[in-house]
């Protein structure tokens, strides 16, 4: 019995911290425990949470993906600018005055998701067939996409105020924002896949020991490429939610998201060396850090102080994790 409680406590330690943060928030600020703030809090978790979910797949196979930040907005930007290009050729209207996008939302969504998958395949192929270290491959991809974002937008923002698209950023279902629903459902699907299907077993096997997995007849190349594809897919979904919330895509927007994503995943207990962690862990990291960010803004701390605290937390968490294997193993 005691062992069971102890086990529960060590596995869900961060959940406990999340409640402590919420309690502190409730006692120190009268606005923390209001519907609006809680809605904001969970809505702001969705985008970095999806990115963290994505990179945790790549972490599980002991690789790293830095390209998610640039990819987040590359999808919508590519969709808008490619349709504008086609519109010029075939003479139909895509952009009306002031770079306002006025065409199908479906096209935007489909092209973004396909872009995400293609970028993931490119990353994976570069890492597995080109034998480029994942750090370098995704770094180069990030720089390339970052540059392309500017080239395609010519440095202007595209405004996406079409009602068929922006409902994603504003709609609430049962008082919970649509963005959060997407995030939670994707986390549940990912958790199911990783726990009960062959995909999860293969990926954990590769993360545990790649050589052994290869000798056991697992198609390591395929599964690592698919980890990259999952990461990029999550990033492009995050990009759609992000741009529908802001009703804008602009090249300088998503700078630094990859670091936030890595921070969230690492705080949740996803190991950078592979094989340890799960979508649930990424979720825990996201809710803890999201609650912390909300608490900081309640206290009126500015971004500078907040970033310092985040930096210290990342280092401390990993340090404790190295010292003793405190967060258990899934």
């Amino acid at each position: 019995m005691f062992k069971l409680i102890n086990n529960f406590f060590s596995n869900h330690f961060l959940l406990f911290i999340f409640f402590v943060i919420c309690l502190i928030g409730t006692f120190t600020s009268e606005y923390f425990f209001t519907v609006t703030n809680l809605q904001n809090m969970i809505r702001n978790m969705a985008v970095p949470g999806l990115l963290a979910l994505g990179v945790s797949f790549v972490f599980l196979v002991s690789r790293i993906d830095l390209s998610v930040g640039s990819l987040t907005i590359f999808g919508p930007i590519l969709a808008v600018s490619s349709l504008a290009f086609l519109g010029d050729i075939f003479d139909f209207k895509v952009l009306i005055k002031g770079n306002q996008y006025a065409n199908s939302a479906m096209y935007l969504v489909i092209v973004s998701l396909i872009t995400g998958i293609v970028v993931g395949v490119l990353n994976g192929v570069g890492v597995m067939y080109g034998k480029i270290t994942s750090f370098i491959m995704t770094l180069a991809m990030m720089k390339a996409l970052w540059g392309l974002n500017y080239v395609l937008t010519h440095g202007h923002a595209y405004y996406l105020q079409i009602p068929t698209f922006t409902w994603m950023g504003t709609l609430n279902i049962f008082h919970i924002p649509f963005m959060t629903w997407v995030y939670v459902i994707m986390t549940i699907i990912a958790a199911f896949i990783m726990r009960y299907t062959i995909v999860g077993r293969r990926i954990y096997a590769i993360g545990g020991d790649e050589k052994t997995a290869r000798l056991a007849g697992i198609n390591v190349t395929f599964w690592i490429i698919s980890a990259f594809v999952m990461s990029s897919f999550c990033a492009s979904v995050a990009g759609l939610l992000f741009s529908s919330r802001l009703q804008t895509v602009d090249a300088p927007l998503a700078v630094g998201f990859e670091l936030t994503a890595i921070a969230f995943a690492v705080v949740g207990g996803v190991s950078l060396t592979g094989g340890r962690g799960s979508p649930y862990r990424a979720f825990l990291g996201t809710i803890v850090m999201g609650a912390l960010f909300s608490l900081f803004s309640m206290w009126g701390l500015n971004t500078w102080h907040r970033n310092i605290v985040v930096g210290i937390i990342i280092i401390l968490v990993v340090m404790l994790d190295q010292r003793k294997n405190r967060f258990g193993r899934i």
């Binding site: 480029i132 370098i136 491959m137 720089k143 500017y150 080239v151 500078w304 280092i315």
Partner: protein, 313 residues
């Protein structure tokens, strides 16, 4: 003689690329070989090149440093707080001290607290940069009255600009340190096989701390020159430098797994990046398309390197 050529080994590809690029540039624009243009190339790229020296050493011991841009900004901001003293010497010394200290902290975290360097420097990247913002309230300082400080970027000795001289001097110093000194050799051993190095009596921890500290020093020198060049000490300086610098170091042959890389390679890689930027400018390409081109060149170089290695086996 033959042996010397063989010693160039991994750098041959780079040298070939460098000469191809230069020839190409000369054909495109005769202005390329102009003394002013060459000066300009070195001036623009040397800031990142100096940081790349430090990062090469960190990568040789098998670690990575993402906090380089933050250290450059923080150390300059720290020195910049004392601009009113009107003493160049004080400001420069404080800048260099702050950079060295930040590098030392990184090293301490990686060795004694056993935090993987990727996470450690990711954390310090945020901490150091924002500490700089808080310290200066996000406002720039103007060192225009400090003559020696400004001379580090704008002065000339004879016909040659002082920053170019600094770059050449630093490249010679770091080449000697890494290639010929005991410390430099121990860096390679630690990076290649840290168990073997421990067994042969090298202190892994101190080697790593030395690498990180020197990297911090390089960052502060680079930041100092950049601030002097712009005439303002801006705590927002250096955002995104880490990526370009890593690109230079990797292009120069450094490996993320440690034990590989050399300052000579980094020097050539720095010049290659400078020439590419210059070439693309001469072609009239925008800054952002240049990023894309450089990303492709990095991947192409790494691929070439990998397949060359496979062919040898």
């Amino acid at each position: 003689m033959l042996k010397n050529i063989k010693n160039l080994g991994s750098n041959t590809n780079l040298l070939i690329l460098f000469f191809i690029l230069c020839t190409f540039a000369v054909f495109i624009s005769p202005a390329f070989l102009d003394f002013n243009n060459i000066q300009n190339i070195i001036r623009t790229v040397m800031v990142l090149g100096i940081i790349a020296f430090g990062l090469t050493m960190v990568m040789i011991v098998g670690e990575i440093d993402l906090s380089v841009g933050s250290i450059a900004a923080f150390s300059c901001a720290f020195g910049g707080m004392f601009v009113d003293s009107n003493s160049s010497f004080l400001v420069i010394m404080l800048t260099l001290f702050a950079g060295t200290f930040c590098g030392f902290l990184n090293g301490l975290g990686v060795t004694f607290f056993k935090v993987p360097s990727l996470v450690m420097t990711l954390g310090t990247m945020a901490i150091i940069r924002n500490a700089g913002y808080i310290m200066t309230n996000g406002q720039a300082a103007y060192p225009t009255k400090l003559n020696i400080y400004m001379a580090s970027a704008k002065g000339y000795i004879g016909n040659i600009p002082i920053p170019v001289i600094i770059f050449i001097l630093l490249s010679i110093i770091f080449t000697i340190i890494v290639r010929y000194s005991t410390v430099g050799k121990s860096l390679y051993v630690v990076g290649a096989n840290n168990v073997a190095s421990l067994l042969s009596g090298i202190q892994n921890n101190s080697a790593k701390i030395i690498a990180f500290t020197l990297c911090g020093l390089c960052c502060s020198i680079a930041g100092l020159i950049q601030s002097a060049r712009l005439g303002q000490i801006d705590p927002h300086m250096g955002i995104g430098w880490e990526l370009t610098v890593i690109a230079i170091a990797v292009l120069g042959g450094a490996s993320l797994y440690g034990g590989k890389g050399s300052i000579e390679g980094t020097i050539i890689a720095t010049l290659i990046i400078g020439v590419i930027n210059n070439l693309l400018n001469l072609l009239g390409m925008s800054n952002h398309s240049q990023e894309v081109v450089i990303a492709f060149i990095i991947i192409a170089m790494v691929l070439l390197h990998n397949f060359g290695k496979d062919a040898k086996r």
